[in-house]
Symmetry: C2
Subunit: 377 residues, 2 copies
Amino acid sequence: MAEILLPLPDPAATGMAHQAEHFPEGLMLDCGVQLAPISIAYRTYGNLSAGRDNAVLICHALTGDQYVAETHPVTGKPGWWEDVIGPGRVIDTEKFFVICANVLGGCMGSTGPKARRRDGVCWGPDFPPLTIRDMVRAQAMLIGRLGIAKLFAVLGGSMGGMQVLEWAATFPDRVVAAVPIAAAAYHSAQNIAFHEVGRQAILADPAFHAGRYADHGVVPARGLSVARMAAHITYLSADALTRKFGRRRQEGAEEEMFEVESYLRHQGSSFVRRFDANSYVAITRAMDAFDLAAEHDGQLGQAFRHTRVKFCVVSFTSDWLFPTLHSREIVRALNAAAADVSFVEITSDKGHDAFLLDEPAFHATLAGFLAGAWDRR
Amino acid sequence: MAEILLPLPDPAATGMAHQAEHFPEGLMLDCGVQLAPISIAYRTYGNLSAGRDNAVLICHALTGDQYVAETHPVTGKPGWWEDVIGPGRVIDTEKFFVICANVLGGCMGSTGPKARRRDGVCWGPDFPPLTIRDMVRAQAMLIGRLGIAKLFAVLGGSMGGMQVLEWAATFPDRVVAAVPIAAAAYHSAQNIAFHEVGRQAILADPAFHAGRYADHGVVPARGLSVARMAAHITYLSADALTRKFGRRRQEGAEEEMFEVESYLRHQGSSFVRRFDANSYVAITRAMDAFDLAAEHDGQLGQAFRHTRVKFCVVSFTSDWLFPTLHSREIVRALNAAAADVSFVEITSDKGHDAFLLDEPAFHATLAGFLAGAWDRR
């Protein structure tokens, strides 16, 4: 098999400090555990206006992080939404103060399974079960600390879109505009199934040591790599895979294989350098548990009752992980709540990952909606 | 994690004999290796007519086997196509002589990685690379041994459908009617990608021992189980998963989980009791390599030039692993070759596995086509 490279040193472990705010009082989680203290790592771009009214919060997806519009300190790659965020870009950092925080449960400086409890022991697999709402409450604490009473906009794709919905439902008076992209108000059975395959791959790796791998000085690199490979397929459309790779064979490899195989192996092995297996388990479980209607007596519309938030719901035609159907369910609930909502389905053959890629019609949609919401704020 | 149960004793290893024909001369494989000797395990149902003109060959899918219309000797479950094959059924064993053989490379009695080479060593991971055409040539040897010059029909779904296409292309004078179901003339990039995830899960299992697990008295149960779980999701539609499981929680489990998680774990752990990991790797590689057009100068139509075989191509609307698009490509090539072809897309929300399930419109299609082909033979 392809050699799974050992992870690079963890920047946190090697003393690299992520910018973070610390909250000694912690946060009462939905599961009933008071998680304290907590730290929320974040990055900002642009300047907060004197009126403190130009803040835009970006919520990242499962394996994203706060390095949204700058070179990533571990991978050295561009920020995951640099196409969208920057001076003169769709989310113009000369106009907006952009904030992106690593989610609670994450592994890039926010409190998660890698963090130590008060007694000095790593949380590891005993990190309490998280919800998307917990992540959002932690972000709200950060926003408060930054002195922002109300966000102009909250945007995010995939799990980021779940957070956007939760922001609008939980803090309707603290958000002007909300843009859930390639998202859903609950995780489907198929999505749970794919996550479970990934978790089982991690748990099956003997290096996982029931989540106590740090005590053994190892990481479950092979299991995490397989989990990433399985997930990665779901982020792309069948057409995108055909266009990128078709049935071409890898040239010059020692072992004969298809290009798509080589690509997936690379995706897997590079992922393990930057992500923590316990975080992967915790965050996928939070996504699986997400069901916004269930938090509101089974009525999704109740989540948005009397809301004054302006919504723009975006989906992509070839996204089979969070298909347009799921966005339509959100729109239907918003309409039932008489909310201010636009819905745009972008024609794209790039699959779920389209929200991260260069999709001019999508970017034009974001720009147009934000400009309109700004004028009507 | 859920306990992965140890596999039951392998019936072959414990002396259970599968009905088989033996060919000391072996078979020259597409890779250039003379594989000798070979055995082909098979089952038959019904009686061969005096005119030897009523033989129907059933080709099984990746993890299927020859026990198509009787209780499976390992699992104790009904044959995988008992709904279709039997007295008075769609493929009526009072009229037809039905044959089903375990594919070359398989693990239910046909020569595969579990078999021993002439020097007494298990083939294991060194089993030569197989093609779908190799499997079909081995079946043709069996059919010859059974004294059948021409099959009335060849039918199969998924990888079985690939074999049906290869039968028609390689032995056009030995087949009256061909029914490729939920199949394709080549494996797509997405399909290769899913197979690669499964293989990497197997290879990542330390019990795999680079394929020499038998020498260590173990089986890579966890890796094979994860491979099965990932594959199983692709056999069902998102709608079918929602209908079967939705977001229901498992009742009474020690560990809180969704029903779909519990179901997948069961699929994984029960699979390892009956299947060999090296076979899984070898057969998935054969499927990935399948590209019928490439065998005919890149022209799929050339594969069927001047054919007199009567075709019935069947697809299912919700099959995203072998979507209707791929069946249409087969039909287009058959039309270009002026072949006798019917094409039926069955409306079903059951996904790829629909061909194994109770789908009345599908069964009516098979019955109607076979009756017509019989009358026109």
